[in-house]
Amino acid sequence: MIGDVVERSLRSPKVLISVSELFSNAAGSRMPEVLPDLLTVEISRSVVAACPTSALQVDEAAGRTHLILNYGECIGCTRCIAAGNGAFRYAERVARCGVRKEALIRRWDIQSRAEVVQDDLVLSQAAERIRSLVGRALNIRQVDAGSCNGCEGEIVALTNPYYDLERFGIHFVASPKHADMLLVTGPVTRNMAAALKHSYDAVPSPKLVVAVGACGCSGGIFEGSHAVVGPVDAVIPVDGYIPGCPPTPSMLLTGIVQVLSPSLSPPRRRK
């Protein structure tokens, strides 16, 4: 009976996760983290060789050797953790969600074993202007532009009782015409490029676009396929990027909230 269903549900314990526990939590994402104290040139070369995408690279400019980790290209294969001889581990927190494309890239100077920190890591100026307009009532239209449905599974999970996205005043809507933000997944396929463009055009201005997942940020594992146009920003302008393959619900939430509220952006560190 219908009453029994409701009664059983009411008796179930509360599972909602607190904001502080959620924010930038990367558990289960398999994203790597670098321990710069243990970094050597040798380790850097072996992790670069192990990386199946070009997420890890060694840059030898101006006599310094830099290790570059681009979260936007990382598919979380964890090979660098296996090959990194202790200098790589599973990240517990990934704060670079909902940031500018350049901010997905982290860079370490191997000789000094320290991170090279860039300025203005978080958001584009356009996004800063828009978020002051939408405040804390955001309508999101999700568009799958060719994903494997891994990201969709995690986006749907945002609405479950653990994450409950609606507590932030954020809703998923059925039409781009009702949306403030497009949340776009997937490498944009040839067959979806026109539909994505039409959806973007249908969102009233001002609008935000967030690219989700390794495929959305960089094309991911599908980069270079004849049937794929490229990452989301190859077709429409993008304001914020959320890495991960797929990003966990907490990373998605971090990204969406971070695009929205400047007070929650991680403090800028200066060297």
Partner: protein, 491 residues
């Protein structure tokens, strides 16, 4: 384990003769090129539900179509034409399948250089079937849908609320995946396999790994086989629990929808806690698995899975006793056994229409060779039957996980795989959506060809045949009860 296949230069007509004999089921048709660039067509047939038989023939010109013999061949032959430019004479519907208007005619990516194919006009040339008569309206839906789901186009012809005809147009998420496998080192291919259909990524990974292992004649340690079984059954549980919840959501019964989403999340969090990944990505690799369980973890994991499955079973019983659910689910979207078998439908959809097909019993591999799996069967083929199949299978999967964890073999979980050599092999896995096959050809330790037979590709053409006579408002419910993957189909 499927190791050697009776594979011969058979000639297409011999393959068609085989398809005409009773007790055969078309599994897949796909193309390949040999080392000198010559095209071949492969017919994969399940004989008596016990043996996969592959018949291969070189192709120089058009070949006779298998579709008039078995409609299950229709999409495979359209794909064969799009990928390899092989014409199938007598095919009733030779329209392009994989490519839309933006793709030039006569560019076939598996034989031509397709790295920089220009865009052609995006004006509509695609010809939908027109239903004519008094009061017939067309309702186009998609590719972008109202919910958070994958893209695809549905064209309904309706009179009032009643659907007369539904036509699908898919492949919006076509990513050229089979081509992408080419020249990938065998150890890296698994990452592409994991991105074919995200919610079934472990099934795809295991199917790929088994194909590589059987190509090289490697046997995976028993402990790794057992943990793979746990992953496969957990993926099935998670998929089925989510499906039942989504079915409730589609009839606006939001309490159980939220409740099952919660149960699903507890299982994903259990996976994170014990395996470091929510969807078991990166766990299966050729040669075994990358993550082992300690004894203490075994007990903890088993307790969480069992509790979640019991919670779901009790909720599912209450759901099925709710009259509004019975009213919406019963006799909605009937797929008859006759149509299902003509279209070669597989998985829970087939079992809900009375067709007893399950790779775990019919073509077992890994640990499934040593255990018996109960296969639930319903004959009505409606939404209710498809919901019941999933509820029953969730309980059975929980039992298999619990049993396996109790008798987890000792030993290693990974053996080395040769990184060079030439070989080919086929592997089958019962994914949550049904029969999933990988066929790989390896040259110098790299993938020369990888064909994926996905259950969604097989089952999508059956969905429109469950629609006529139903009202259009029931479409989301019927579609959800099939729960097919767009990306798994489109690849």
């Amino acid at each position: 384990m499927i190791r050697t296949l009776p594979n011969s230069e058979a000639g297409v007509s011999r393959a068609l003769d085989l398809l005409r004999t009773p007790n055969t089921r078309l599994v897949s048709i796909f193309g390949s090129t040999d080392d000198s660039g010559g095209r071949h067509v492969h017919y994969l047939v399940d004989v008596n539900g016990r043996e996969y038989r592959m018949l291969t023939s070189p192709v120089t010109g058009p070949i006779p179509s298998a579709t008039p013999i078995t409609p299950a061949a229709a999409w495979y032959e359209r794909e064969l034409h799009d990928q390899y430019g092989i014409e199938c004479d007598g095919h009733p519907d030779p329209r392009p399948l994989l490519f839309h208007e933006n793709w030039p005619e006569n560019v076939h990516p598996m034989i031509d250089n397709a790295s920089h194919v220009p865009w052609t006009s995006t004006e509509g040339r695609y010809r939908f079937l027109k239903v004519q008569g008094d009061g017939v309206c067309e309702v186009p839906v998609g590719p972008i849908h109202a919910g958070i789901i994958e893209p695809g186009h549905f064209r309904f012809s309706v009179v009032g609320d009643t659907v007369l005809h539904l036509e699908l147009r898919h492949f919006y998420t076509h990513k050229g995946t089979e081509k992408l496998f080419e020249n990938t080192p065998v150890m890296d291919g698994v990452m592409i396999a994991e991105s074919v259909s995200g919610d079934n990524c472990f099934s795809h990974a295991v199917a790929y790994c088994q194909a590589i292992e059987s190509a090289f004649g490697i046997s995976v340690p028993p402990r790794a086989q057992a943990i793979r079984l746990i992953g496969l059954e957990l993926e099935r549980m998670i998929g089925h629990i989510a499906d039942v919840g989504a079915l409730c959501g589609d009839v606006a019964f939001s309490v159980p929808s939220a409740y099952t989403a919660r149960i699903k999340e507890t299982l994903l969090r259990a996976s994170t806690r014990f395996f470091g990944t929510r969807f078991w990505r990166g766990i299966a690799v050729p040669g075994g698995i990358t993550r082992d369980l300690s004894n203490a973890e075994t007990t903890g994991f088993s307790r969480l899975v069992t509790a979640a499955a019991r919670d779901f079973a009790q909720m599912a019983r209450l759901i099925l006793h709710t009259s509004s659910i019975q009213n919406r689910f019963e006799s909605t979207g009937i797929l008859t056994a006759e149509i299902a078998s003509q279209l070669g439908v597989v998985g829970p959809v087939a079992r809900a229409s009375g067709i007893r097909l399950d790779v775990r019993c019919d073509h077992p591999s890994g640990r499934y060779r040593h255990i018996k799996v109960d296969i639930p069967l319903y004959k009505y083929g409606d939404v209710l039957a498809r919901a019941r199949i999933r509820i029953d299978e969730t309980a059975i999967s929980m039992g298999l996980i619990d049993e396996t964890l109790k008798e987890l073999p000792a030993g290693s979980v990974l053996v080395p795989v040769p990184l060079s050599g030439n070989s080919e092999a086929l592997s089958a896995v019962e994914s949550p959506r049904g029969e999933l096959l990988y066929w790989v050809r390896i040259r110098d330790g790299k993938i020369a060809r990888c064909h994926i037979k996905s259950p969604s590709f097989q089952n999508w053409p059956a969905l429109p045949l469950a629609m006529p006579g139903n009202i259009i408002a029931d479409f989301p419910l019927i579609n959800k009860s099939f729960n097919l993957s767009y990306s798994g189909c489109d690849r």
